[in-house]
């Protein structure tokens, strides 16, 4: 199986960043690309949902939500004890790694699509369900939201009505209502361009990953070890949960991708507001500078291999 070009675009972005090239994706374009990715993921899921009736979603949803609440409770003590990291920073790491990365999920979808492996249509719903709980737990762990009383409700509003959940859920809903035929006329933009858009997005992610790696100078060894070793057990648990709740091999792999991925949009913004004394570049360097590349190069194939072995798909 040859190397996926979208990952090469990430590599090109990293190279440009390291070489201090003047290449820049303007913020407006980055916004456009991420809006398109979120809508596409939602629309795809919605169309699939409108096709196939979906039994037992409630039980599955509870299992996935539980995962989102429990993950940070394991990550936090690990970061505290093993990593000897302060309370706020450990709580922030727990929020980042308990939550999920849409970009990693998109690469996972591209990975499966290239191999003609199908996945359960409810995965985008799980993506939504996994985004919030870990952030809530992370804030509670930091026990610092008290200082500015209004912060808590503001943060919750910002996560729940933040654009990523809004566009995912909106896309799901539109895809579900409109169905395959209704969506057909907008497919050329949202579906046909998906991988190209993902390629450009990853080019920018490469640039960002480099620019967000400054914490490596100070906390290098810990961050690299943490960023590489954390996703594997989390991802494996994700795959196993997927298997337990009856997902297909593709679906279990994607749940593994979600579990093993670390948030780099919702969690940093929420932590910055609610836990201001956490060092933002620590978590961001780990999730964006280490775990994101690890997952798209190495993690995703591993999660799929585990899923294929456990579920017996292919």
């Amino acid at each position: 199986m040859s190397i996926d070009p979208v990952i090469l675009f990430f590599g090109l972005g990293v190279l440009a960043g390291i070489a201090k090239s003047d290449l820049k994706i303007p913020p407006a374009i980055y916004e456009l690309l991420s809006i398109m990715l979120l809508l596409t993921i939602g629309l795809k899921g919605g169309v699939e949902l409108s096709r196939s009736p979906m039994g037992g979603l409630w039980l599955q949803a509870i299992a996935v939500l539980a995962m989102g609440f429990i993950f940070p409770l394991f990550i936090y003590p690990l970061a505290r004890k093993v990593g000897r990291i302060g309370q706020s920073d450990a709580a922030s790491l727990a929020a980042h790694y308990g939550s999920v990365s849409v970009a990693t999920f998109a690469v996972g979808i591209a990975f499966l699509t290239d191999r003609n492996i199908s996945y359960d249509s409810q995965l985008p719903i799980f993506l939504v369900l996994l985004e919030v709980p870990a952030i809530v737990v992370g804030i509670l762990l930091a026990r610092r939201a008290s200082r500015r009383a209004q912060a808590w409700s503001k943060v919750m509003h910002e996560i729940v009505f933040g654009k990523s959940i809004l566009l995912l859920v909106g896309g799901l809903f539109i895809g579900w209502i409109a169905g395959p035929e209704g969506i057909a006329p907008i497919e050329p933009l949202f579906f046909d361009l998906f991988k190209g858009v993902l390629a450009l997005f990853l080019l920018e992610m490469g640039l960002i990953a480099v620019s967000q790696s400054h914490a490596l100078k100070v906390h290098g060894p810990f961050l690299v070890v943490f960023g590489v070793l954390m996703p594997l057990p989390l991802g494996t648990i994700g795959v196993l949960v997927g298997w337990a709740i009856g997902l297909s091999a593709g679906g279990a792999a994607l749940l593994g991708v979600l579990a093993g991925s670390a948030s780099y949009i919702a969690a940093p913004a929420a932590m910055r507001i609610a836990v201001p004394d956490a060092n933002p570049s620590l978590s961001l360097t780990a999730s964006l500078g280490v775990t994101f590349p690890f997952n798209i190069f190495i993690g995703i194939p591993i999660y799929y291999a585990i899923a294929a072995a456990v579920v017996g798909g292919g």
Binding site: I25, P27, Y30, R148, S211, I273, P276
Partner: protein
């Protein structure tokens, strides 16, 4: 100018705080504010507009000397410790002074 002197308070800080600070400034009594996007470098490192949690805004408030002091105290109390922030004050004269403070 039917000269009337006021203070111009300029705050350069993290973009993520924009809404919060503008709300605070107004509830402290300011009649308005002006915001521009910015990037920069300071004690908390380089902050470049490429990536939203990493860019700055530049917030300007025209107000009385007394309100300026209150805004500065508020910023000092709630943001100085944990956020990238610089604040400076300039003497300006304005038209229609009744419009400010």
């Amino acid at each position: 100018m039917t000269d009337a002197s006021r203070k111009l308070v300029t705050i350069v800080t993290e973009a993520i705080l924009e809404v919060e600070i503008c709300t605070a400034v107004e509830s402290l009594g300011a009649t308005g504010y002006t915001v521009t996007n910015a990037r920069g470098s300071g004690s908390r490192g380089v902050r470049d507009a490429g990536w939203s949690t990493d860019s700055n805004v530049r917030i300007e408030v025209i107000c009385s000397a007394e309100l300026a002091r209150r805004i500065e105290n508020h910023m000092q109390k709630f943001y100085y410790e944990n956020y990238a922030m610089v604040l400076f004050e300039t003497d300006v004269s304005v038209l229609r002074p009744e419009k400010f403070s």
